[in-house]
Each structure stands twice: as C-alpha cells, then as structure tokens.
C-alpha cells in the first residue's frame, strides 16, 4: 500500500475532508473524566494519541443503550418496528492498537458464522478503523505480552505513527487507502519511513511480563488456587468488564413509556450474581470464585476454543479500574507459575 505523510498542522483539514463523506468518531475530552467517543464535525481539536484511557471502542459498536425494537399499540393496532441503523460510512479515528484488536474479538462473537448479529454487523460493515501506534504505553499496559502486534495491525484500515511534526499514515486495507487521500498527503522520505519502523519496534520491545510467550490457554486451569485469591478480594462490581474493550456480554430489558415498549440491550457482566440466576432460583455460578474464574477462562480458553482468538488485548483498563487492585498480569503470572 502507498504510505503517506501528513503534517500535524494539516490534520484538521484531513479530518474535515473525512467528515464530508463519512461520520467520523474520535475521542473527545470531557471535563474531569475520560475522553469519550463522539462524532466530530471537523472543527474540533483532537489529539490522535489521546486514546489512552478513552472508553473502549465498543462504545460505538455496542452502544450502552442499544434499542432492538419498539412496539406500540394504538387503537388496537400493533406496530413492531426496528430502529434505523446508520447508513453512512463511519470512520473511527485515534484507536489504540489494543482497542482495534478488541474489535477483532467482538467480530468473532458478533459476526460469527453461526449467527450474525444484525445490529452490530450493520455498524461494523460501514466502519473503518484508523489506529495510532502507541508511543507512550501506560503503566498498566501489557499488549505485547498477550498478542502479536504485527498480527493485530492487520485488523485496522489505517495505521498512524506520530513522528513529531508529522504523522505517518500507512493504509492497511483498500478501504484505508481511500481514506488517505488529499493534497495534504505527501510521500514519506526514507528517513520518515525509518523513524516509523523504529517507533513500531520500540512499541514491540515494551518490557514483557513473566507469562509472555507461554501458552496461557493451556495453563488456565479450572482448579487453580488463584480463583480463590481473586474471589477473596473481588467486590463483584463488574468495573473490569464494563471497561474491557472486548467484554461483550449484554442484558436485554424492556422499558415502557405509555403505550410504547422499547426493547434494548445494555452492558452486563458475568461478575454479577444474577447474571446466571434462573427464575426458579437455581444458579450455576453462585460463588464469586466461579464468576472470577468464568471471566478469565472465557477470555483465555473458551474464546480460544470457540474462535481461535484471545479475548484480552492487554489494554490495562481492568487493572486501572479495579477498586481492589486485582491485576490481570498477576493472575496470568500465577496461572503460568502454577502450571510450571
């Protein structure tokens, strides 16, 4: 693909040109809180590297309140309708690579050949991903310990690398090539290409955790002692899965306003007791230990068996959001050490 260079001063112009033909979603700052994915009109100042603690990209693909249908009875007439889904192409700009990888995980679940989720798939098929190479990983990051970044990079449409005054834009797909268009894009110099490669190697050289390179799937054991340790501390708040870019379990609820019934899906987590509680009172996972085990095993074993993908991208959100400092890196280390 033909790689390009754009001056940072021209970024706004590029985004404005994208806005002309697409809905563009980018991380926008919010006072006192993490940045959020918002539609931009081309006039906002966005920081392409600000994706660090942004809410995960599932915010767009799996909205917190996702209306499935509306049912209304008026004068004895029933009306059941599906809400309109976006029909414009959409570009997500400023993703971290880990969050882009999380979309690959979500794709396995929601575009899975056995059943295609029509709401997710409609959004996803119109979506292009413009990711940024991290130049300043956070203390909680461990992407290089759970995955192969070269492989992950194949899942985006354009990969941007910050070179100081300029941004190196590498289209990965045909869709991405269409996005990297305009007079403000120049051909990169040899030096710029070299710097880009260095930035990539620097990211990949991020210090690895003890479990890196081990087959975590084989080491995640049902009887591991770590499940008890986790359960002793875990409050069952579910912050880890709400923030997780690849956790995708949902609840389905009805909301009634007058004669209108709206069915929507919203976030849910396997960390809640009532997640699996059945009407008659039986619960297959009544103990916290069973629920912490479920979450880790789902990511590292079950999703591997089901889709041949690890359901964790090492983004570190669960580590930063856990109120009792449960650290996924420690959990994985313990699993690997126990197996050794």
């Amino acid at each position: 693909m033909s790689d390009k260079i754009i001056a940072k001063t021209d970024l706004r112009q590029w985004l404005a040109s994208l806005v002309a033909g697409n809905d563009v979603i980018a991380p926008l700052g919010r006072e006192g809180g993490p940045a959020q994915w918002k539609a931009i009109d081309g006039n906002q100042e966005i920081d392409l590297g600000a994706g660090q603690m942004v809410m995960a990209a599932k915010e767009y693909l799996l909205p917190v309140h996702d209306v499935l249908w509306r049912y209304e009875t008026k004068k004895g007439e029933e009306k059941l309708e599906q809400p309109e889904l976006p029909d414009r192409p959409t570009v997500m700009v400023g993703l971290r690579l880990c969050d882009a990888r999380a979309i690959s995980v979500l794709d396995s679940v929601y575009m899975d050949g056995r059943f295609r989720d029509p709401y997710y798939a409609t959004r996803r098929e119109k979506l292009a991903l413009v990711a940024t190479v991290c130049d300043d990983p956070r203390w909680s990051c461990f992407c290089t310990s759970v995955g192969d970044l070269d492989e992950w990079a194949k899942g985006v449409d354009v990969l941007l690398t910050d070179l100081g005054d300029n941004v190196y834009a590498a289209p990965v797909t045909e869709k991405g090539k269409q996005l990297v268009q305009g007079s403000f894009f120049k051909d990169p110099t040899e030096d710029q290409t070299k710097k880009k490669a260095e930035a990539w190697e620097k990211l990949k050289a991020m210090p690895k955790k003890p479990f890196a390179g081990k087959n975590i799937t084989e080491n995640v054991s049902w009887d591991a002692a770590i499940w008890d340790d986790m359960a002793k501390r875990c409050l069952g708040c579910g912050a880890c899965s709400y923030q997780c870019p690849s956790c995708s379990c949902f609840d389905i609820q009805d909301i009634t306003t007058g004669s209108l019934v709206e069915r929507y899906r919203c976030r849910d987590t396997c960390q809640f007791t009532d997640f699996t509680l059945m009407g008659a009172g039986h619960n297959p996972r009544p103990e916290k230990k069973m629920r912490t085990r479920q979450r880790v095993m789902h990511k590292f074993k079950y999703q591997m068996e089901q889709f041949n993908i690890i359901g964790c991208t090492g983004c570190g959100r669960c580590i930063e959001s856990c109120p009792v400092n449960i650290d996924m890196r420690d959990v994985l280390t313990a699993l690997v050490e126990q197996a050794d």
């Binding site: 029509p118 949902f250 009634t256």
Partner: protein
C-alpha cells in the same frame, strides 16, 4: 453434522431479535403454578410455514414485562400452533400467568438443536421425567407417538410431588394407547391409587434393558443425578442417555454470554446433549 443446524432458525427469523406477534389462543391450567399456552402467529403465511424440531426452544415476550426462555412443548407434527408450559416463578412468568386468551405475545423461535430422533429409529425410547421437566419431553414424546411405526417400545416414567402437580393429564389416555405410561408421586392424596415414590427408584423397579434403547431424562437436577446413576447401573452407556439443559438465556443466538458451559453455549450447541457430550464440559452442573 455437516449442514448448518441453525438454518431453520435463520430462515424463520431474518433478524433473530425481532419477535413474531402471536395470539394466545388457549390457556390450559396444568397445576396450581403451571399453565400451558397455545399461541398462533398473527401472520397467516408464517402460521402455515412455521416449522421447528422437537427439543428446540423459544423466547416469549410479554410486551413491557420482558422475555423468557421456554421449550417448545408441542410437537411439530401438530401444525398451526405452538405451545409452551410456564411455571410461575418470576416477573415474566407472572405476567404470562396474568394473560387472558386473546392476548398478544411476541415469539422468537425456534432456537437450538433438537433430539436426534432419526438416529433413534427402530430403537426403544424411555422417557424419564420429573415435574416441569416433562414439558420439553412432551414434544419429542408426541413426535415419536405421531411416528409410532418408526420406534420400538416407548415408555414414560413421569413423577411429580403430588397428584395435583402432574401436567398434561388430559393427554395420559392418548399416551397409554400406544405406549406405556408409569406415573409416580412423592406424596399421594385421598384419590391417588397409583404409585408413591421417587422417579429414580421407579426406574430401577421397571428396569428397562439397555440393548437397543435410548433414555431421555429431564427434571430437577437431583432427580437427573439419581436417574443417571440408576441408568448406568442398568447398563446404559452415556451416549444412550439424553437430556435437555436449562441455563439462564437472553439472546438465544450465542451472543449475550449467559448460558455457556466452557466454550459450549446451551443456546446454540444445545439445549439437547447426550451424557457423553456433557462429560466433556467443565463441571459446572
């Protein structure tokens, strides 16, 4: 199976989250806490074309109250309507119990796999059910009876807490006509002249021979546990014994993440499993 078993679902539900509107045509009071609903799709074309397999399940919506998972308790051999039996336990089941005939409900169906009745042809089939566990077995039992010539001996052991807790009593005569029906209750009453005792014990007394025989069991976990032990003692192998699993479900298509046992989802890999398949799953049951 090489073909897509979910084709039947996809064909009848282009958007698997959109229910089909149906009218509750008939409500049968089975017991003090259980009712069977017969629903007919509003769309005439769908009513004619709609098809499912014995063992599959559905998601029933009471608009505003929510949605609940029930097995299809009717047999696909009996066209024009579908049935589901509901024990009153929670919000949605309570809302269902409050409905009158003529009410509109939403139905998403059919989901999941089904009993491999073609592989059972020429074999004897024993149904071992307890309580509301008879509901999913009624579909396959009636299916086998409607194709009576395809199967050998068909026997049913059905137990409930009291005579008043037995469901489908209005079909007992029909079942007795072409198959054997063995009833038992945990505690009888003044009018009960039948057997008193638990299902697994009755199974040992009746002692079906494992040769060329399939056993299907569904009921409370404790009953299944002992029925299974006894079947093994009688010489049945795991692959001869089938059940239909129950787990909390929402979506029905393997997305919402509730009903997994390991990497298997009860909604799309089940709900029907043989016990040799269950043995491969993590010990979550």
């Amino acid at each position: 199976m090489s073909t897509d078993i979910h084709e039947i679902t996809k064909q009848q539900m282009p958007n698997p989250y959109m229910p089909h509107l149906a009218v509750v045509e008939k409500i049968i009071e089975e017991t003090w806490d259980t009712k069977t609903f017969r629903a007919v799709f509003q769309d005439e074309e769908l009513r004619e074309k709609f098809t499912y397999e014995p063992g599959q399940f559905q998601e029933v919506s009471v608009f505003g109250a929510g949605e609940c998972t029930f097995c299809l308790t009717s047999s696909p051999t009996r066209k024009g309507y579908i049935e589901f039996s509901v024990k009153r336990v929670g919000v949605v089941t309570k809302a269902l119990h409050e409905l009158s005939e003529g009410a509109i409900v939403g139905i998403r169906a059919p989901f999941g796999n089904w009993f491999p009745y073609n592989e059972w042809k020429g074999k004897n089939v024993w149904f071992i059910g307890g309580g509301i566990g008879m509901a999913p077995m009624r579909s396959i039992l009636n299916y086998c009876l409607d194709n009576r010539g395809d199967y050998g001996e068909i026997s049913t052991i059905y137990g409930a807490r009291t005579p008043g807790d037995l469901c489908f009593t209005y079909e007992f005569d029909e079942w007795r006509k072409n198959s054997a029906l063995h009833l038992t209750v945990d505690a009888g009453d003044d009018s009960w002249t039948g057997r008193v005792g638990h299902v697994p014990g009755y199974l040992m007394e009746l002692a079906p021979k494992p040769e060329n025989t399939i056993a299907v069991t569904c009921g409370p976990p404790i009953m299944i546990k002992f029925a299974l032990q006894n079947l093994k003692e009688l010489g049945f192998e795991d692959k001869q014994i089938f059940t239909t699993l129950e787990m909390k479900m929402k979506c029905g298509i393997g997305k919402c993440g509730r009903c997994n046992i390991g990497s298997k989802f009860v909604c799309i890999d089940g709900p029907v499993f043989s016990f040799d398949q269950i043995k491969e799953l993590p010990p979550e049951f």
